[in-house]
């Protein structure tokens, strides 16, 4: 049975909180929580102790009770749990085999799962309510109030720091994943202000602590504003901040195994990828077709303006070349036979180039030459150019 995507996300969230909370302890004991299954192993170990009753269990019994997991894994987690005293020997003596579990770590675990599921917002509300009640109690002392103020300042400082860091420098995806920190902040701020008000009016000597709390609350409010602003700016058109980011889906699709992928596909029916034509697209396309005028290429500008003298025309390198060539071909004569010129050249490539030049001279509107073809065709057998249309190339009066 595969894990659905929600399960994976849930595990990741649990792991995130777990890691934060136990990082310090775990680092010291050399056993970081590196995968979500170790949280499950912990839960299973504590569960087996709950089943076992007051006599406790040996390590081997625990391994057997947690047969779902590999023995090595269970033993390793057992060591970790013992290191931070979640599991203790029944009697503190050497070679004592029986252990029992403290209830606090399990409560902590439940609490962690709950925080991971709901984002810790509800717990924070409860904490605020409790603190408010405690400072309202008639027998509350200055020290209680000082403690309360100090704790709340710390909570809001931490919240604000985390959010501000994300809002300023974080990747927007991370910010979106942590958007739950933003939710319900009005309620939190109001409650915190109530506590602050109560403390300040009852114990005016706690002015300094209250100031710290005020600053912490204000910092949290600023961080919330900054983060919300960043999210809204990044979101663009969509307001669906609760949607999983696109990257998360891509990563999942790339990394999930067949089972996990097919579990997702069991739940979703979607259409095959196909071009989509929104109504607006159709309207735009039709309207743009009706309003376009055919593109016209501007005609080439004449090289001489009508009525202006030839000298005004832009000097034309091609015309100069043709003029020089024409003068060379004509020499002193006013006209020359094309056949004669072709015969001088004698080969096909040169003849072709010559014909092209002659035609260009004829067509050029500033050059005083003309090319006239006759109807006669000279056919000879010997040279390579044996079919030559007769014609004459002449200088004309301007």
């Amino acid at each position: 049975m595969g894990l659905s995507f929600d399960d994976l996300a849930g595990e990741a969230a649990v792991l995130g909180v777990y890691r934060q909370v136990f990082a310090v302890l775990a680092r010291e004991s050399g056993a970081m929580v590196l995968d979500a299954s170790s949280v499950d192993v912990d839960e299973a170990i504590l569960g087996s102790f709950a089943e076992a009753g007051p006599e406790g269990l040996t390590v081997d019994q625990v391994v057997i009770a947690c047969a779902r997991f590999s023995g090595v894994q269970v033993r390793r987690r057992f060591e970790v749990l013992r290191d931070y005293r979640a599991v203790e020997r029944v009697k503190d003596r050497p070679h004592e085999l029986y252990h029992r579990a403290a209830f606090a770590p399990y409560v902590m675990l439940l609490f962690l799962r709950r925080i991971a599921d709901r984002g810790g917002q509800a717990e924070l509300h409860q904490l605020l309510t409790l603190e408010h009640l405690s400072v309202q109690e008639s027998d509350a002392t200055v020290e209680d109030a000082r403690g309360t103020t100090h704790r709340l300042s710390t909570v809001f400082r931490l919240l604000a720091n985390q959010l501000a860091g994300l809002a300023v420098g974080g990747v927007v995806e991370t910010l979106r994943e942590n958007a739950q920190l933003l939710w319900g902040n009005h309620g939190l701020l109001d409650q915190a202000n109530d506590v602050h008000q109560t403390v300040l009016s009852r114990w005016s000597m706690l002015d300094r602590e209250c100031r710290a709390l005020r600053l912490a609350i204000a910092a949290y409010r600023d961080a919330v504003d900054a983060a919300a602003g960043r999210l809204i700016e990044q979101a663009g058109a969509t307001r669906a901040l609760g949607l999983l980011p696109v990257e998360a889906w891509r990563t999942f699709a790339r990394e999930a195994d067949v089972g996990a992928l097919s579990d997702v596909l069991n739940e979703f029916l979607f259409d095959a990828p196909a071009p989509w034509f929104a109504a607006d697209t159709l309207i735009e396309a039709v309207e743009s077709a009706q309003h376009t005028t055919p593109v016209r290429i501007t005609p080439p500008r004449p090289q001489t303006e009508p009525g202006s003298v030839t000298e005004d025309a832009v000097p034309d390198a091609e015309a100069e070349r043709l003029r020089a060539l024409a003068e060379q071909l004509l020499g002193e004569r006013t006209q020359v036979s094309v056949t004669e010129l072709i015969d001088e050249i004698g080969d096909w490539l040169g003849g072709r180039r010559l014909l092209a030049d002659l035609t260009a001279m004829h067509l050029h509107d500033t050059l005083p030459y003309e090319l006239r073809w006759s109807d006669r065709l000279r056919i000879t057998l010997e040279p390579s150019l044996n079919w030559v249309t007769e014609g004459r190339f002449a200088r004309v009066a301007q």
Partner: protein, 222 residues
Amino acid sequence: MNDVDQAIAWARARAAGPQRVPPSTPSGVGMRRLVETEAGATWLLPMLPEGAGPTVLEELGLSATAVEQPNDTARVLAACLRCCWSEPNGSPWPGVVASWEQVTSVFRGITDNRDERYSNIALVAGVRRLAGAGWLRWSEATREVQLGPRVALWRDPELSTLRELWRLIPSIDIAPNLTAGPDLAIGPDLAANPDLAAEPDLDTEPDLAANSELGTTGGSDE
């Protein structure tokens, strides 16, 4: 329909889009049945929840499936919609069959200043593309065009926009026996030849939509 059949039907739809099946085929969960006019076949169209349509892509800044010649293809679809959506007060599905000449004329009406040859190339290419994507049904043999199952994906707000489009595009009615061919000119010819065989069709159209704003459409074409 058991789980396996359902899974297969879903897999087909996810891979290849709307499926044309015999009318007796049961439809799985989440599928919409679209019956063809002659009831000879049924299309199974995957229905997406409201707000999960292709518009989400735009919101997320992702590119949709690319279309070649997107504008011309959209114009071809608009032309076919004009020809096949017989009663714009209702749903475009199933619509009526449009002859190739009708579609050609309307398409040329939309893109009136274009060379005929290029216009035909664009039209054929567009129709093939749209038929491949399930927006049109096209029979190459009979050269008849019908709207495809995907038109049923347009929701009400979009349909009202499309009705505007329907009114925007001048209507061409060509009776099947008319031999004028694809190069039939649009408005002026119809106005110049009141005896044209298409004339009765022009008259019936406003009657279909009597007492509605569509009544003005038929008149404005002339």
